[in-house]
């Protein structure tokens, strides 16, 4: 069925909260994002690790107080405008008219259900960030990605503003993230969103062997 689907005159987008059934698609998206950043050599996430980290049933934190993922889906058909009672996040919908058709070379791979015309197109992964200096937490966006054929239609903005609006709804005061210096497209996008660049800090990391060295360290060194 997927081969007959095409985005000729319109495309609809939906941003909703991810569920465990999204894991296989998330894994593919994360790998694509890693490829974009030339990180495939260090990419070692598996569907199992994503499930464990994102959908741990023993998670003691309330919604949005631990890592959260929003999925971006697209369809040639308009998404139904239904809100479920007690849902922790009401999906955000948008339909845009197209000047020219969109071709998705991976349509079948990202179809959520062979009986529908819904395709996963991107995601944003974020978690609360705390600063000892501020009264309220913020959200840290760790990953945000839209598949190549769906860029420049405002879907990135849709994903990003979904996080921003959730932050404001919860009384959180900021959204932060990191961007690599060469990513001019992303930089233009973020500056367009009103972001500030915190130029005078350096990011440090302890990982791999450097971190392992502390596993058996004498407590108190």
């Amino acid at each position: 069925m997927a081969e007959k689907v095409s985005f000729d005159t319109q495309i609809s987008g939906r941003v909703r909260i991810a569920t465990e059934s999204d894991v296989p698609h998330l894994h593919k998206l994360m790998y694509q994002m890693a490829k974009y950043h030339d990180y495939t050599k260090v990419f070692n996430a598996t569907e199992a690790s994503i499930s464990t980290n994102l959908f741990n049933s023993n998670n003691p934190c309330p919604p949005f107080y631990s890592v959260t993922t929003f999925i971006l889906e697209v369809s040639p058909d308009t998404f139904p405008q239904k809100t479920t009672k007690n849902s922790i996040f009401d999906p955000i919908l948008k339909t845009i008219n197209l000047d020219s058709p969109i071709l998705d070379p991976e349509l079948e791979l990202f179809n959520t259900d062979e009986h529908n015309n819904v395709f996963v197109a991107g995601y944003v992964l974020f978690f609360p960030s705390y600063s000892g200096y501020f009264e309220k937490p913020g959200f840290f966006i760790e990953n945000m990605y839209v598949r190549e054929c769906y860029r420049k239609y405002g879907f990135g903005k849709m994903l990003f503003s979904a996080v921003a609006s959730q932050a404001v709804k919860m009384g959180f005061t900021k959204v932060d993230w990191l961007t690599v210096g060469w990513n001019n497209n992303a930089i233009d996008f973020y500056l367009g969103m009103g972001a500030y660049i915190m130029g005078d800090v350096k990011r440090f990391r302890l990982s791999g062997e450097g971190l392992d060295a502390f596993a058996t360290s004498d407590r108190g060194c």
Binding site: S49, P60, A164, G220
Partner: protein, 218 residues
């Protein structure tokens, strides 16, 4: 100098790192330490943290599953090594560390935790996760040792406490940011085995611009 507020350590000093717990006087001390750290970074005008906000954010979840604080205490006397019921974080104790010269804490009364125990530093962490990696991580938001207690290995003790928690919990990394001008801290982190994640810039959206962006979403 306020003589009544100060204490002198002559030959030995003992140190303990433990979780900040409620209810006791940890929160007011933590707030004072955070204020000192803000001073160090010239960020005092941006401080909005209050003792209430610290209480509200620090104790919502089990240790290391959300915002968590460790506190460093010192004493001229050794700390008792008692078995702890809460095994999520056993206090780290280093007793009877010899001092090359006597040292003065000019604010000991302000930071008195118990009789001869004084709060000397803190570290704040929260969990992080990057979808590229199999294991989650920890983000170290703040690490601070009061000025009079620097140069004695307490920073290393605090840092090691965080690193060993991360390693033992099966995490893949500990991340943090440091100010460009803070050469001393940068050297310290490199000595601890950390590396600079080059070419990444930190971006932030807040205030009116955050509100505007949120309104797009509706």
């Amino acid at each position: 100098m306020d003589q009544e507020n100060s204490s002198t350590f002559t030959h030995q000093i003992s140190a303990r790192i433990r979780l900040v717990t409620v209810p006791n006087n940890d929160i007011p001390h933590l707030h004072k330490l955070i204020t000192q750290m803000a001073n160090y970074h010239n960020l005092t005008e941006y401080l909005t943290v209050t003792e209430t906000s610290l209480s509200n954010t620090l104790f919502k979840s089990p240790p290391f599953h959300s915002f968590t604080a460790l506190i460093l205490e010192v004493s001229p006397n050794p700390f008792p090594i008692t078995p702890h019921k809460d095994l999520s974080f056993n206090p780290i104790i280093k007793n009877n560390f010899n001092l090359k010269a006597s040292m003065l804490d000019p604010q000991s009364n302000t930071f008195r935790s118990e009789n001869d125990v004084y709060v000397a530093g803190h570290v704040l962490v929260f969990p992080s996760y990057n979808g590229f990696f199999e294991k989650p991580g920890l983000n170290m938001d703040q690490i601070f040792v009061r000025k009079c207690y620097r140069g004695l290995g307490f920073g290393k003790m605090l840092f090691s406490a965080v690193a060993s928690v991360a390693a033992k919990m099966g995490m893949g990394m500990v991340d943090w940011v440091v100010a460009d001008w803070n050469g001393e801290s940068i050297k310290f982190y490199e000595k601890m085995g950390a590396y600079y994640v080059s070419d990444y810039r930190l971006y932030k959206l807040y205030g009116e611009k955050l509100q505007q962006c949120a309104n797009i979403s509706g």
